[in-house]
């Protein structure tokens, strides 16, 4: 099979169904190294399922995902976790580990059984924690810090995995605007270091501001993809979300800005 190594991650014709419900209906994507991809779409359009298929958190019934030309479905778990880091939607955390220990968990694929994390691992963790601005929290307990801080800790854990690809499932959904910007800025810096970032996002305008490439899903199929100017048009947004938007051009480096309009006034 002539898998193309030029792409960081390639999704080839994947189909996923839960019971009789087809969640993904033949999705194909090619993603390049060092870019920021945003997956958009209404609730239930298959965004998270697509991301989970890429992370192998679930196995598609048909099709495959390739990383640098290698089939993800055939990789060993540890091998895969050295290639792809995935930040799942935040759930309630019940454990009380120190933040430093949570970040060090990211070294799991690199540390052999019967060993503990060494000086090198701690150095890597420190660097990641400084980058994601959580170094000052290292001795706090993970259940005592705020939601935004916790999200940054988990990003540090993903950084420590030293992968080329980082998947983020709604990384900013429950955060205030300051933390949203902070996390997307951090993701932007990661792309400058050559990482490929793929994030499921709900906020069209933040996606427009930060992403190099948007993928718009509806009912398990790709409706449009490309740079924000091409995807966030009045016509496409109306078709996908069923809401007539007002699109302002020329904001933030010419990125489109979507203004929803009250339904009665249409």
């Amino acid at each position: 099979m002539g898998q193309d190594k030029a792409y960081s991650i390639e999704v080839r014709d994947i189909e996923v169904s839960f019971g009789s419900l087809n969640v993904l209906k033949g999705i194909s994507l090619k993603m390049e190294r060092g870019r920021f991809y945003g997956i958009l779409g209404p609730n239930g359009s298959g965004k998270t399922t697509l991301l989970k298929s890429m992370a192998r958190a679930l196995r598609p019934q048909k099709g495959a995902v390739y990383v640098n030309g290698e089939n993800v479905g055939r990789m060993k778990s540890r091998e895969l976790s050295k290639r792809i880091a995935c930040l799942h939607q935040s759930t309630d955390i019940t454990c009380d580990y120190p933040v430093m220990d949570v970040v060090l968990m990211g070294r799991y694929p690199y540390v052999k059984r019967f060993q503990t994390e060494g000086e090198k691992d701690r150095e890597i963790a420190k660097k990641a924690m400084i980058a994601s601005n959580v170094w000052h929290l290292k001795d706090r307990r993970i259940n005592e810090i705020s939601g935004g801080e916790r999200q940054r800790v988990f990003i540090a854990r993903a950084l420590v995995q030293e992968t080329d690809i980082v998947l983020l499932d709604e990384p900013i959904s429950h955060l205030d605007i300051q933390h949203q910007i902070e996390i997307l800025d951090l993701a932007g810096t990661m792309t400058q270091e050559g990482k490929t970032i793929i994030a499921v996002l709900h906020d069209l305008n933040l996606a427009s501001m930060y992403c190099d490439h948007l993928i718009m899903l509806k009912d398990g199929a790709i409706v449009a993809q490309g740079e924000p100017q091409k995807v966030l048009t009045e016509e496409i947004v109306k078709r996908v979300y069923g809401v007539k938007p007002f699109v302002i051009d020329g904001m933030n480096d010419n990125r489109p800005y979507i203004l929803p309009v009250k339904k009665q006034r249409i």
């Binding site: 958190a57 778990s77 995935c86 799942h88 955390i93 009380d96 060090l104 799991y108 059984r113 001795d139």
Partner: protein
């Protein structure tokens, strides 16, 4: 402070705990109905150690006392330590694995399953024949594994196992096993005393034959469980996240469940149902150290050993011996209720 900053402190504390347990075992051997002094006990014990034996004159110690110490007290105290270690390590593992502080061998039905297997063996007269204990243990093993398998099959959805379903299935299967045991008792009135005493949880009649099966299984199982502490930590911080870190969550859970049911079966075959050890000891450890399983698992094991040896020692003090399972419940239930009340306050 992160785990590796304090690694050596924990190692030191663990060695100290181990020594405390050994000391407690030795002291416990001196307690009982027959009045044997500490000095005589030590003489008897040291006399049995090769090379050292020559230095002690064992002349004045009576043969009966020697038999009581070596063949009655020592095996039961060692069994108490091993069972405490095993049940507590299993409880800690379950709690980590299911992210549920109430999980323990009883909730999952493993104990009841093992008990049912052993009861069937007793009813069929296995305890009367030569090598009968081996048969009882084997029956407990088979039924413990069978219970895990049944509970797991009920709880399984696709390749994944949900915690809620697992716990509910465990409770249901546990009730079923207990009811079958009741039927067995009604139908075999002559064996009621045997089964009842054993259901209360007692190690009064433990023999060396049982100890040599029990101890290696518990020690090997406990060490095996501790090896998975890091995986347990990562799973506790989120299963999806654990998978993306390369932890094979389902496989780890399965391996741990098999190891745990081996430990539980070995313990239950010897002592019957001893409750609350697997619940209160890991809880106490967690209150002190936090929930890092690299600390919780080994310290729960040692703590469980210490706790059960203490309970067993106390159970021997009154003239009519109290089954140790009754005692652990008497201490354990109020403690457990106090944990519940405290956690309620935290939520409100």
């Amino acid at each position: 402070m992160s785990f590796s900053d304090k690694k050596y402190r924990y190692r030191f504390a663990l060695i100290f705990g181990g020594l405390l347990l050994v000391l407690l075992i030795l002291t416990s051997v001196t307690v009982g109905a027959a009045n044997i002094s500490l000095l005589d006990t030590l003489r008897i014990l040291i006399g049995r150690i090769p090379f050292l034996g020559g230095f002690v004159s064992g002349g004045e110690v009576s043969r009966t006392h020697e038999l009581i110490v070596l063949n009655i007290r020592l095996p039961r105290v060692i069994a108490a330590a091993a069972i405490g270690i095993g049940l507590s390590a299993v409880g800690a593992t379950y709690q980590g694995m299911f992210a549920n502080p109430m999980a323990d061998p009883y909730v999952l039905g493993v104990s009841a399953g093992a008990a049912l297997g052993a009861s069937i063996a007793i009813v069929m007269g296995a305890d009367k024949i030569v090598g009968g204990f081996g048969l009882t243990t084997a029956a407990a093993f088979i039924f413990a594994l069978l219970t895990v398998f049944i509970v797991f099959s009920i709880a399984k959805t696709g390749a994944k196992v949900s915690n809620t379903h697992l716990l509910l299935a465990g409770v249901a299967v546990s009730f079923f096993a207990s009811s079958v045991m009741s039927v067995l008792m009604v139908l075999n009135r002559d064996k009621v005393a045997n089964i009842t005493y054993w259901m209360m949880g007692s190690i009064a009649f433990t023999s060396w034959k049982q100890v040599i099966i029990l101890v290696p299984l518990v020690i090997a199982g406990t060490i095996a469980v501790c090896v998975f502490a890091r995986e347990l930590n990562i799973i506790a911080a989120g299963e999806d996240g654990a998978r993306s870190l390369g932890v094979e969550v389902e496989k780890v859970k399965k391996v741990l469940l098999v190891i745990c049911s081996v430990i539980v079966a070995a313990c239950v075959a010897v002592s019957g149902v001893i409750g609350f050890v697997g619940l209160i000891i890991p809880h106490t450890v967690r209150l002190i150290s936090g929930s890092d399983n690299r600390i919780v698992l080994p310290f729960s094991a040692i703590g469980g050993g210490i706790f059960l040896v203490l309970c067993d020692t106390i159970s021997r003090i009154p003239t009519a011996e109290i089954p140790v399972g009754v005692l652990t419940s008497m201490f354990g239930a109020p403690y457990f209720i106090s944990i519940l009340i405290r956690s309620k306050k935290k939520v409100v």
